[in-house]
């Protein structure tokens, strides 16, 4: 018993002499020759007259898609089945020249990925279903309903483009070629991506407006500089064959154990402002993790310009003994500013204008700051520990003054992330902390809660 694919003796829905009918018959002949189980074949059709082909298939699956997208749907089927399933499915895309141009990047992408699929491009040089409009494949001088005096734009060489896209099998044939079925069969049997561009004539429009016959297809191909035949047949490993070699898992962030305690009895919001690439967000996430080690809840809201490695970098951190709802900071308890770019962004966002009298500000001693109504401490972060550690030093300086959590919680969080690699940095930061003087004279203006500095009063700078 042998499989049949196209409904026997079907009346094709195409005009007399239309190349679509020739291609469909050749495809039927190719399938009959190959005898693949029909349930493993998926005919994926595009929009246009080519999309009427679904109804002609009796046994294979059919998926009728959107204009130009059929190669992407087919790639999804072939890639999923090839890697997750049994790899038996063979999508065969039927697409016209209009669809091929819309879906050019889908074709290029599929050619590069090399899933097990076949594409038959029905190139009749125009849009047939909608009335014979010019396409990107129309030959120079071609008369269409939108180029009544002849097309002036040269046609795309799709086959060459797909060869440049590393498609392992590319052929260009004429619909009238006697060996068309043989070439299509060879394309389908090719393990991986295969594309056959078939040149054909639309008898409704092309032959009506242009002095053409089937025999002249070859002339069109020559005039356009199109090579004919199997242009490339160089199998390479399919996507599925190489996928599992790339598979690698990245571990999820570790669970933070609560091994310290905190006397903090209310939420505390801190803004850390610096420059991208200077580990601002890293310092912020170490602080958040340290807070969590001390039993607090934490949020870290980051802000940066569209670029990743330049410009400002700002993190807003909230530490709280209770659930944190709003992740913004309405009244910051502290501002830590370690670069000019960070300071300028805070100013643009009117953070300084919103700073309240009780906000504690720790700022690098070399950056420009506007006058603020709050207490500003200037510290030599950048000069002493360098730009890459300035944000971390500012966080540590703040922890040393406000003491919402033990410094040890910060070092534990740091070690959990970096291991002993961070030892030399830790020594540098510890030495910075020891040599920094935090004037006790200011102690009397501290407003503390349970031993934690929540806010400070008075203005002016201190060193």
């Amino acid at each position: 018993m042998s499989y049949t694919y196209i409904t026997p003796n079907a009346t094709l829905p195409y005009c007399k002499g239309c190349g679509h009918g020739q291609i469909l018959r050749a495809l039927g002949e190719a399938l009959t020759r190959l005898q693949l189980p029909p349930q493993e074949i998926v005919i994926v059709t595009d929009i246009g007259c080519v999309g009427l082909a679904d109804a002609q298939f009796e046994t294979p699956n059919t998926v009728h898609t959107t204009h130009g997208r059929s190669p992407a749907f087919a790639a999804g089927i072939a890639l999923a089945d090839g890697t997750l399933g049994e790899g038996r499915l063979k999508p065969i895309v039927l697409i016209g020249d209009g669809g091929a141009m819309i879906g050019l990047n889908h074709l290029v992408n599929a050619a590069l990925l090399n899933p097990n699929m076949t594409v038959l491009v029905h190139n009749n040089f125009l849009f047939g279903m909608t009335g014979g409009q010019n396409s990107a494949f129309s030959p120079t001088g071609f008369v269409t309903s939108t180029t009544p005096t002849g097309n002036a734009t040269p046609p795309l060489d799709l086959a060459r483009l797909l060869i440049a896209s590393r498609a392992p099998f590319v052929a260009r044939k004429l619909a009238s070629d006697r060996d068309l079925a043989e070439t299509i069969a060879r394309a389908i049997a090719h393990p991986g991506f295969a594309l056959v561009e078939v040149l054909e004539l639309c008898t409704a429009y092309a032959t009506r407006w242009n002095p053409l016959t089937g025999a002249q297809l070859k002339n069109i191909a020559e005039a356009a500089g199109y090579e004919l035949g199997i242009l490339r047949e160089e199998p390479r490993p399919t996507f599925a064959a190489t996928y599992h070699q790339q598979a690698a898992s990245v571990p999820a962030p570790p669970i933070t154990t609560s091994d310290f305690t905190s006397a903090l009895d209310r939420p505390m919001g801190l803004v850390l402002a610096g420059t991208a690439g200077e580990r601002v967000q890293t310092a912020a996430s170490l602080l958040a993790s340290a807070g969590m080690r001390a039993g607090l809840q934490a949020t870290q809201k980051n802000d940066n310009p569209v670029t990743q490695g330049t410009g400002f970098s700002i993190s807003e951190i909230i530490l709280s003994p209770e659930e944190i709802l709003f992740t913004g900071i309405e009244k910051p308890n502290a501002l830590l500013i370690v670069s000019d770019e960070g300071a300028r962004e805070l100013e643009r966002n009117r953070v300084f204008a919103d700073a309240v009298k009780t906000t504690l500000v720790l700022a690098d001693d070399q950056i420009a700051l506007p006058d603020m109504p709050c207490r500003v401490f200037r510290l030599p972060f950048r000069r002493v520990v360098g730009p890459k550690l300035a944000a971390t030093a500012a966080v540590l300086a703040w922890l040393n003054i406000a003491r919402p959590i033990p410094l040890e919680a910060f070092w534990a969080a740091s070690e959990a992330r970096y291991g002993s690699e961070s030892n030399s940095e830790k020594a540098k930061l510890l030495s910075f902390l020891e040599n920094c003087s935090f004037p006790d004279a200011c102690g009397k203006v501290w407003d503390t809660a349970g031993g934690v500095l929540i806010s400070c009063q008075g203005n002016g700078s201190a060193r």
Binding site: L52, G85, S285, A298, T299, N302
Partner: protein, 378 residues
Amino acid sequence: MVNAPHRKLLSGNRLLAEGALDAGCRFFSGYPITPSSEIYETMMKELPARSGLALASPDEITALAQCVGASLCGYKAMTATSGPGWCLMIETVQYAVMTETPVVIAVVQRLGPSTGGATQGAQGDVLLVEFCTSGGYTLPVFAPATARQSYELAQAAFHWSERLRTPVVILSDKEVGMTLESVDVSSLARLPVAQRTPFTGTHGQFLPYACGCPLEPPTFVALGGEERVVATGSLHDLAGRLRKNVPEAVDLLKHLQAKIAAHAEDMAIVEEEPAANAELLVVSYGISARAARAACRRLNREGWRVSFLQLLTLFPVPSEAIHRAAQGCSSVIVVEENLQGLYASMLEPIVGKDRLVRVNGLGNMITPAEIIKVAEAA
């Protein structure tokens, strides 16, 4: 310590991806766009180790089309994007609606229009996401406000996508997706996730779009199975054959809407903090729900009587829950971060235009103080 919290510092994006993985997502095709890229990166790293396939697609259209292809093979599939990428996906979302193909799309909003502000949050895509189909067919949309909700709603999205064979959107935003927060991972809920109902009829009798009841999706056969599959985005009959407006084809269109509408109440997920004899109801969703909840708690501490309602399901609109919560309240305040109060327009027919008060914002998160100011004046 049996019930000790196990806290991790995690983003909404990360937990959304984890939720998808735990829901059984096997296929992901993505394209980078701020602020959703972390979902894509997480899936690229995690899926291979969890027997799945994650792909880097050349554009958003390819990404969703590949997901639909994978879903036709029977695999749970997802992609993630932001507003600009969503615009490109709409054509394929409609295809998934029409072919009744389950697929989940995470849309992490940023400030628009156009490329807008890539690193700024917003809630401007809520109606763009919902009303993206010709005919306005209801697309289920879930909106998390926290990392925990991102995890849970990713599972709900897969559940309803599979259950009703429909595309489903998880509508997040920059602040929900990218902000890190301490999450007690031991308290994260694993939700049941449905599977498509397989065809069990007589071999050769499978009709791809035949439903036992118009309120339920058709039974499913994956490509490559024993039954012949026919899928089409064009108007079709039960066998998937192209048809003009014969009653059978038009009935199938009605079915697309009816199957969603019939399960609206089951799909409704809300979180409520009702106040006794409440004078005011504050309704919010997504990132603004955090500020709105904080505002309500503060107001109630100061002696006001304000109920809070967070909508985790945005579409189908949880009308019953809104109607119930609004009973007896003189004003219903809807808080959302867009210029005109887009979702508030969905509440008008439920609570009445006269009671509706909008709190809106643009470019920054709405603060609890802004909401309190409006509530005190209402």
